[in-house]
Subunit: 301 residues, 2 copies
């Protein structure tokens, strides 16, 4: 039976940039009341600010996450990717029966594995009755170059992409429910793929782009260089103002796909470099014309 | 003696993306009347559109550029970089005495060389009287990923950078005059450097960024990839929709500096790649933190 959002208590585990943005979207766009929205975080300032702003109705320190989980029909895990398996392990018995869990991590294979294990544990621990718990891994493609709850307003969900990577135990009605919620939050396109496919694609669109932006800044020490900027440099390097611990995790977690993508990028870069070095104008212009045409096709949905 | 803009006839040689944008800025922001603004181009449609829109008062086919030049006190050469030396050579006797010339090309060493030669020729050809002609090479950092006169409105000069690369013969009052005009057009910061310095800096902020964007698109054939885009990929590759012939020219013209910049970028990329491949989380996080801090410093003026 599909859940009804107005009957649900919703918990945000991790009230950072994305946790805060999701909380705001649930309140402003999905009709979730303050009384039914809870948050836990290790930063008490963020928790207090959210309460005072009328965003959340209850706050829980990190050490009391289990108390929150025991109340929630829906839980958004908005933690750093590497913290999620440990969080599930620590609080596996605290989640309410029938709870629907999702997460926001930028890598999905390891999360999906942890989710499968968690669902299996709950099934085996339920001693015969239907525990009915579910965990649908997801990835909202709507970050910002700044981090933390205080920057949540920088995340704009309107028109953005959301990836869901369902696992075998997921119930179709739960997938349907979470999709409706995602559209209500403002996202315009949901793509369903396997966790492995997600990680391969994201290695390109997200992680490779961040590595490139970082390398661009790494190779230029002149901080007055923006005098010579015309927009391209600024656009390509804005994401170099990244959350260093989180991106370190994402890069290393997804390193197999990411290394492949770096190799492919380097190959294309070297092709172009060779043509430039040899002044092969015709070949270079043809290749750039193909690139232009492909990028224009990519812009069209 | 400094020119007075309202007494000047102004010619735009090349009514493309930037020529059109400069024409519009001169009319809308600098008080230049339609009667005093002329254009020449090989595309008659652009010329006619500009006349009908009340932008320009006279139009000249490319073969009649000399007629326009003989009337102009100020000339903006808005041609592809490689066309400028030939244009100067072809029409060197047509420019009006005392004319102030500038250009918009994205490479400056070759333009500065052509400008020096042109000024020298005019001086030697003037037979003793003061020809008083001047050519101040420049580069407005305000392009767009689309090209052509019809896309001129995409160029927004407000708050943008402008580089001037004066040469020895330039008169201080002419440099002052052109700077005032540039600020009037909406640009917020003018940087004066040598042509060589310009080309080294621009190889990084502009050309390297375009090569990287092109390589990113070159290495991914899935045109549905934008389903997995969260903004980074879109921002990094928007400029891959480039004007292929013009960027081919710019890359090859400035290939010595550009190859250096590609090498430096590849070195940084390989450093990061090595850390990712070896899962060196501490080193990687430290390096990314330095990158973040440097990029933030670059944002501040």
């Amino acid at each position: 039976m599909q859940k009804n959002i107005s009957d649900c208590n919703i918990g945000i585990a991790g009230l950072g940039l994305m946790g805060g943005a999701i909380a705001a979207a649930l309140r402003e766009k999905c009709g979730v009341t303050q009384q039914r929205l809870f948050a836990c975080d290790r930063d008490n300032d963020s928790l207090n600010t959210a309460m005072q702003a009328g965003l959340t109705g209850k706050s829980f320190e990190a050490s009391r996450a289990g108390e929150m989980l025991s109340l929630c029909d829906i839980v958004f895990l908005c933690l750093n990717p590497s913290s999620i398996p440990g969080f599930l392990e620590q609080w596996k018995d605290s989640f309410k029966r029938g709870c629907l869990i999702t997460d926001i991590a930028g890598t999905k294979e390891s999360i999906a594995a942890a989710a499968r294990e968690f669902c299996k544990y709950r099934e085996s621990a339920s001693g015969g009755y239907d525990d009915n718990i579910d965990f649908i891994p997801g990835h909202p493609m709507a970050g910002a170059e700044k981090s933390g709850f205080s920057n949540s307003a920088l995340c704009n969900f309107n028109g953005k992409n959301y990836i869901l990577t369902p696992i075998a135990p997921n119930k179709p009605e739960n997938i349907e429910f979470i999709k409706q919620l995602i559209y209500q939050m403002g996202f315009s396109r949901i793509t369903q793929v396997t966790p492995a496919e997600h990680d391969r694609k994201i290695a390109f669109t997200s992680q490779l782009c961040h590595v490139i932006a970082a390398a661009l800044i790494d190779c230029e020490s002149d901080t007055e260089i923006t005098r010579f900027g015309g927009g391209s440099f600024e656009d390509l390097t804005r994401i170099a103002m990244l959350n260093a611990p989180m991106w370190t995790e994402l890069f290393i977690e997804n390193r197999v796909s990411l290394m492949d993508r770096i190799d492919q990028f380097e190959k294309s870069l070297n092709d172009l470099k060779a043509m430039i070095g040899r002044s092969q104008a015709v070949e270079l212009e043809n290749r750039l014309a193909l690139v232009k045409e492909r990028r224009i096709r990519m812009s069209k949905r």
